[in-house]
Symmetry: C2
């Protein structure tokens, strides 16, 4: 079996070719209604496939949000399987937003479910949650390294309650988020080019300071960042939060893009416009 | 529509009747093999249904571990739907171990998926992860309150990497876990008897001290605790960690119980024995 190139390398290639946008596939009930689609598994699938069609050749990656598929149980997950397969077939990188986190054999189960070779819901990368400690993610890290996959670990989010956990300070003086960024940096240390172990960092956060800022600057992997453009962060804020590593930011956008639908041509136009707006801000 | 009694009350009734054991349904590949079952959706379903049959009338609750069903994608989730339906029909409380956590409309999507009236994967309670801040769980709290459902929020876990996040200290001097326990206490304040908002607290943790210990003692909801009995925590350790609120501990056990299978009668015997061992330690 020929192994694929590491995720970080594949993502860097895609971003160099098509720009720093990841198209979110978030089938909210309200969005489905706006697209005149039923709020059921069929509606989820049609929505997802149209976004995949619009993103193919226009953006490097798509990010389905698992919660909205899980709302419809097994039938919703079957729709997600088909959306992921279509994205792969279209040459898109798939980042499945599942924010899983557990320990031991259960974490290994999640890793197999979403990063395992041939698993029905396998993606190129997933989001994971480190409440149980960074080391608890080890089974997913191992499986990602073995198969050329990637992770995006929740680090610094822009919701008002986030700092309650993320800004708490450990005995070494680092914040929880700073420690996660530093551990990601250690994982990415051996990578050629962009590492495969990224962080979720909101674009509209308070810019980190001191050791946290240093950990962010030397993390070495991609940043998955919601909240860029339109009502979100502009060039000045992006520079303040990410500094020179803003070139490693993959901006996630869903609502603004879906709002252009349901016409695939119009969605493709909205993706193109979003990329055009992002390029100077993240250059 | 007649609302069910609050989850905490239903759980307290069940624990008073049948004891403090929650039967984990963790279909590891190795356990399926030991039961001579295939590692596929059919194997998951047979395994789950046998544990449900053994638990009915012997323990108050079952706790399927979602990760092992997700490994088999939509087909695995269809098996989980049937296991949950069988547990409900058998009068068991269902605690679905999903450890979800997100913000805003995505968290609302998870809440609808697992606590929503009539959702295919709805349970009586779920586990949730607070890395994004306790307040990010609000959509799940609201839906649980409206429908007589419950939550178990990850707080203090016994894996070695847990303290890295959970013991970090906020500006108010409380640890991350202590703050979560205190916020749970505020949610449970108005409850009659046991509250519906519980915490996941490992039985083999370092006993909390100071403000953390106080927050644990006044949390007011149930504790979902892995690691009790056999190679785990004994009576002295349980008293040290939980003090007088050890009467609110629901002990989760899976491996020791599944090891008695595949005979349903033998699994039922193992459940009865586990309850008999737990009762004096948690009285």
């Amino acid at each position: 079996m020929v192994l694929p190139a590491p995720f970080g390398q594949r993502l860097a290639d895609g971003m160099a070719r098509l720009g720093p946008l990841c198209v979110g596939i978030d089938p909210h009930a309200a969005t489905l209604a706006a697209w005149d689609l039923p709020d059921d598994a069929r509606g989820l699938e049609i929505f997802g496939l149209r976004l995949v069609e619009a993103a193919a050749g226009t953006a490097p990656a798509v990010k389905p949000q698992a919660a909205f598929f899980e709302r419809h149980g097994a039938a919703g997950l079957a729709a997600l399987e088909r959306v992921l397969a279509a994205a792969r077939a279209a040459g898109l990188l798939t980042i499945l937003d599942v924010k899983r986190g557990d320990i031991g054999s259960t974490m290994a189960g999640y890793a197999q479910a979403y990063l395992g070779e041939g698993a029905p819901l396998a993606a190129d990368a997933i989001t994971v949650s480190p409440y149980l400690g960074f080391g608890s993610l080890r089974p997913a890290i191992d499986l990602a390294q073995a198969g050329g996959k990637g992770l995006f670990v929740l680090a610094l989010t822009s919701n008002p309650e986030g700092p309650e956990v993320q800004a708490a300070v450990g005995p070494d003086g680092l914040t929880v988020a700073g420690r996660i960024l530093r551990q990601l940096g250690q994982l990415n240390a051996g990578a050629t080019g962009l590492g495969s172990f990224g962080a979720v960092v909101g674009a509209t956060i308070q810019p980190p300071e001191g050791a946290d800022a240093a950990a962010l600057a030397t993390m070495g992997g991609p940043f998955l960042a919601p909240g860029i453009g339109a009502q979100g962060a502009g060039p000045a804020q992006l520079a303040a939060v990410f500094g020179p590593v803003r070139r490693h930011v993959l901006a996630a956008s869903s609502r603004a893009i879906a709002a252009a639908g349901p016409s695939v041509a119009k969605v493709r136009g909205a993706i193109g416009q979003a990329v055009a707006e992002l390029l100077p801000a993240l250059a």
